[in-house]
Each structure stands twice: as C-alpha cells, then as structure tokens.
C-alpha cells in the first residue's frame, strides 16, 4: 500500500438490480484526506459512499482500505463510520447510550467505557446532554451526537452524508469548523457527500465531481473552481457562459463566431459572468434583465451568440433594460474545457 492509496476503489461497479448506478470507478484517497463527493442527485455519490461502508454489495471491482481488501468484508467489520443525513440516532437510548453503543459491542465496559464516552461527548461539546433523549435535542446537536458516536469507534474512514444540508446557515458554518477541527485533531480520513458546490469548496482537500455514475473531475477546490475540465463541471461551479469550440471558433446559437483574441486549443470554453468584459469589445447585446446583488450587478444580454450573463462591480453605472452594450469574451480568461457534453 502506498501512501496515496489508503482507501482505493478499483474498477468499482455498483448496481441496484439491473440498473447500474456506478460504473468502473477508480479513486485513490490518501490517509487523513478530506474528500468531497460532489454531484447532482442520481450521480452515484451516495451509492459509492454506501459501497465504501459495506451497506451495498459490490457488483464488480474492489474496495481496499489500509492494505486490506474490504470488498466482501461485512459492514460491521470494516471500521468505517457513517454519519447519516438523518443522523439515525437510536430514539430509545440516551445521548450517552447512543455514543456507548458501538463501544459496548466491542466489549468495552466499566471505567474504560465511561471515560471514552465522556471524552467523545466532550469533544463535541455535549457533556451536559448525556442523559437527554435524541428527540430532546436540536438538529445540530443530534448531528454532533452522531459524529461523536462514530468517532469514538476510531474509524479508519468517516463517511458523512450531506452533513450540512439539514442545518441553517449559522449552524452550517459552525459544523464546517467542527468537522475540520475533528479531522485535524484525529487525522481521520473523511469523505463527505454533497450536492452543494459551496460546501465542497469550503471544506474539502480534494473534490471528486461525479456525473452519471462516473468521475468527471478530481481536483483541489481551486482546480475545480478555476479550471473545470468539462462543460458539466463548469456549469456545476457557476460558469454560465459555456460554448463548444470548433476549429478555433465558438459554436453558438448564432453560428460559428471568431473570438477577439487567439483561440486556445480545447473542446470548449467557459466564462463566469464576471469574466465577461462589458462596455467594449467586438460583440453587441441588448440588456434583457438585470439584478442587483450588493457588491455586483448582473446582466442578462440577448446577443448574436445567444443569451450571455455578465457581472460587473455595482459601483459602475447601471445600464437600463433595452440598452445596447458592447461586450467581449476574452479568450485568455476563459476556462479551457477538454470535454464537452
């Protein structure tokens, strides 16, 4: 086992009945990494996570963890923790008993058990809630119990299913910090599943973007945000002006268009709204819609290239609806897409 493949998925194929959900997936994860599986619903991210946990049988391929083949090891022998989206706390047990559940199954008793449970509760700041039932806790507190319940087991990998999606904005930030702290303090390898790109960008060391049961791109948050490799990823992370490239020209709904600068070689180009130059340039558009977003102002333009979204600093003078504007799609700013779908 090399350091780069503490957890590795090899040609992993997963299916529900005859419906293949994930096909030939290869992924290597380093020890102590914080990985986000990012994608829209149905992309196979949750399925992949369940297979890592052992909750879903593998159709073909392998799951290796810490040098051992886990493919057919039952879920209760894998040392993989999972924090469910619904938290899945045991409603009949107190917070203390929830955290103690797995430790007791390991045969831990008495003072050892108590010390471990107390430490677990303390680490998530819930020591004073030990005797409450899950139903008496807020969503954020329940999630922390679920986190403590998994972490006291000292799992080799901790999986989190949409860890922030059920929390309100303030708790989200708190939980983000909490997860990063737990990860730093324990060095546990963490994989979390999310459909929210902002969540993935903020939290992960590396992001795995999935689409239709396959990996679309793997990269650092900076890579994914600035250098999407495909039109799918570009669209997912907020590039709104995406065009295929044909012989150095953009294929648009208005035909093939010559770019102002020298066209790079790629399958397509993508610009975020704020990468569009407004006021000068070879193209012309009419303002169809405008919205004020505090720091910036967004314009929707009707152009010969089709609809274009542009964003400029709010301090600049506002253009009214119906105004004719010059604009440019600067080739040097565009993200180069090697795959266009």
């Amino acid at each position: 086992m090399s350091d780069a493949s503490y957890l590795s998925l090899e040609k992993l194929t997963l299916a529900y009945g005859d419906t293949v959900a994930v096909a030939d997936l290869d992924l290597d994860i380093r020890k102590g990494e914080l990985i986000a599986l990012l994608g829209p619903s149905g992309c196979g991210k949750t399925t992949t996570m369940r297979a890592i946990a052992g909750l879903l049988p593998v159709k073909s391929g392998h799951v290796r963890l810490d040098g051992a083949d886990m493919t057919w090891v039952p879920a209760n022998k894998r040392a993989v923790g999972l924090v469910f989206q619904s938290y899945a706390l045991f409603p009949h047990l107190s917070v203390y008993e929830n955290v103690a559940f797995g430790l007791k199954l390991k045969g831990m008793r008495g003072a050892d058990l108590d010390a471990k449970v107390q430490a677990g509760l303390k680490s998530v700041g819930l020591s004073s809630f030990a005797n409450r039932k899950p139903a008496e806790l807020s969503g954020g507190q329940q999630q922390r119990v679920a986190l403590a319940r998994s972490m006291v087991m000292e799992p080799k990998v901790l999986l989190l299913d949409e860890p922030l999606s059920n929390l309100d904005a303030r708790l989200r930030l708190e939980m983000r910090t909490e997860l990063q702290r737990v990860q730093k303090e324990t060095g546990v390898t963490m994989i979390f599943v999310t459909h929210d790109q902002a969540e993935a960008l903020a939290l992960a060391d590396r992001i795995v973007v999935m689409k239709g049961g396959a990996i679309e791109q793997i990269g650092s948050p900076e890579d994914i945000y600035n250098r999407p490799v495909s039109s799918f990823v570009a669209d997912f992370v907020g590039f709104e002006n995406i065009f295929p490239l044909e012989g150095g020209r953009l294929r648009t709904s208005g035909g093939l268009i010559e770019l102002s600068g020298e066209a790079p070689s790629a399958a397509g180009l993508a610009w975020r709204p704020r990468m569009v130059t407004l006021g000068t340039g070879p193209f012309r558009g009419t303002v169809r819609g405008t919205s004020f977003a505090g720091d910036s102002r967004e314009y929707l333009l009707d152009t010969s290239l089709g609809p274009i979204k542009a964003e400029v600093e709010a301090g600049l003078s506002a253009h009214p609806l119906g105004a004719d504007l010059l604009f440019d799609l600067p080739a040097e700013k565009a993200a180069l897409l090697s795959k266009f779908s």
Binding site: L82, S86, L89, F101
Partner: protein
C-alpha cells in the same frame, strides 16, 4: 328549541343508549337476587357473582380461553413480527397478496373459517381439539398483529439499523437492539388487541369446541341453554370490567390508540 337543534343531542343519546344500554342491563342483572336472568333485577345480591367462581366448567373454559388468548397471541406475534418486518422493509414480489391473505381472517366471517377448519383440517387429519383451537386463534389474531406491528415499523426509520451495523452489530443483533425496543409499544398494543379478540371470539371456537374442551364464551352459551340463572350475566360483567381495565391501562401506559 326547534327540531333541528334537538336532532344531534337525541341521536347522540340514542346511539350511546344502544351502545352502553345492553351492558348496563347485564351489569344490573348480575346483582339480581332472583332465580332467573331478568331485567329489571329482583332485589340485590352478590350470590350470582359468587356462583360464577364455583361453576367448574367455567374454571376449565376460562383457563382454556386464557391459554388460547395468551398462547395464540404470542404465537401470532412470533409469526407476525418477522412478517411485518419483511413487508415494511423490503420490496417483495407479491407483498400485496401476502398482506391481503394475512388480513383474510378479519374479512371472512368467523363461521366460515370455523366450518372450513373443522371440515377440511380437523376432521380429515384428526387434529386434537386444543391444537385446532390454538391454530385457529393464532390465525385469527395474526392480522391484528401484522397490522399494528407494521404501523409502528413504518414509523421507525430504517437507517438506525444500518447505523447499528456500522457500529459493529450484526443484522439480527440490530433488529433486537434497535428495532424491537422502538416498536415495543406497538407489540404490546398488538398483544392486548389480540388477547381481547381471541378471548371474545365465538364463531370459530363454536365449531372447534369438543367434549370437555371449550372456550369461555362457548361455555357460557352452553350453560345458558341448560340453566337460565343470572350467573352468566355476572360472568359477562366481570369479563367486561376486565377488558375495560386492560384497555384503560394500555391507553394510560402505552398510548394504545396511536397504534390501533
């Protein structure tokens, strides 16, 4: 007050009268001092209540009814809990058919069930009376067991079992550690409902009862055919108060009505 505003109160009184009236008459008749079952009662005495405890056949049939109610309901739960679990957790082919078949004893008149059991099971296979009654009561209670237990399983998230497994429990262990404790109320409710259903069951038991082996309600009918004294009314009252007591306790401690 006009006729319109009187309609609802009068209806209410009539409905309640019909529901509770016979019960009140029976209770009153059990305290009669007279020799025959009569209403209004003649005088007041506890002699018929006392007599209930001296009739030997009542003791035997009460024991039989108790055995069938407890044993049959327990057996129905042993069969019904796994069945409910399978029906509520897995997408099984033919699940709807199973659900319907399991509910059949509620829908099919007891007299038909009794006749069918007698004609096609008990007589041809020479099944003992006690065993036949036990099987019949188990089958009669099964629909209630499946229904009530299913309802509480449907209210329980299934991911807690996966959580238990990931914490080191086996699948079966997860069922006993996190599913059973959370459906305990449903199981208790099913037990009480099944017990009362079995205990009050007449038509099926009527067909299957044989010499010396009877359930209490069947025995009461037999007794009345010979002796028409108020002891049957006294026994009925005792049973009614027992049932009310059980249901009241169940509602008080388990929130019985949530499951039924």
């Amino acid at each position: 007050m006009n006729a319109r505003s009187l309609f609802i109160p009068i209806t209410l009184v009539l409905v309640l009268g019909f529901l509770i009236g016979p019960f009140l008459i029976i209770v009153a008749a059990s305290f009669s001092a007279g020799e025959t079952l009569n209403f209004p009662p003649q005088g007041f005495s506890l002699r018929w209540i006392a007599k209930v405890f001296t009739v030997e056949s009542f003791q035997a049939s009460f024991a039989m009814s108790l055995f069938l109610a407890i044993g049959g309901t327990a057996a129905a739960l042993v069969l019904g809990i796994p069945a409910s679990y399978a029906l509520s957790r897995y997408k099984l082919p033919g699940a709807e058919i199973v659900r319907t078949v399991v509910s059949a004893p509620i829908i099919v008149p007891g007299i038909i069930v009794g006749l069918a059991l007698l004609r096609y099971i008990v007589v041809p296979f020479q099944v003992g009376i006690t065993l036949a009654l036990f099987v019949a009561h188990t089958a009669l209670v099964l629909p209630y067991a499946v229904r009530v237990v299913s309802a509480s399983l449907d209210n329980l998230r299934s991911d807690i079992e996966e959580a238990a497994v990931l914490l080191g429990s086996s699948r079966l262990g997860a069922f006993f550690r996190v599913v059973m404790p959370n459906i305990r109320g449903g199981i208790m409710s099913a037990f009480i409902l099944g017990f009362v259903t079995s205990f009050n069951q007449v038509p099926v038991s009527l067909f299957l009862s044989g010499p010396g082996v009877r359930t209490l309600p069947v025995d009461m009918i037999a007794y009345m055919e010979i002796v028409f004294d108020p002891s049957v009314a006294a026994l009925s009252s005792l049973l009614a108060f027992l049932s009310i007591g059980i249901v009241f306790a169940a509602e008080r401690f388990l929130g019985f009505s949530r499951y039924v």
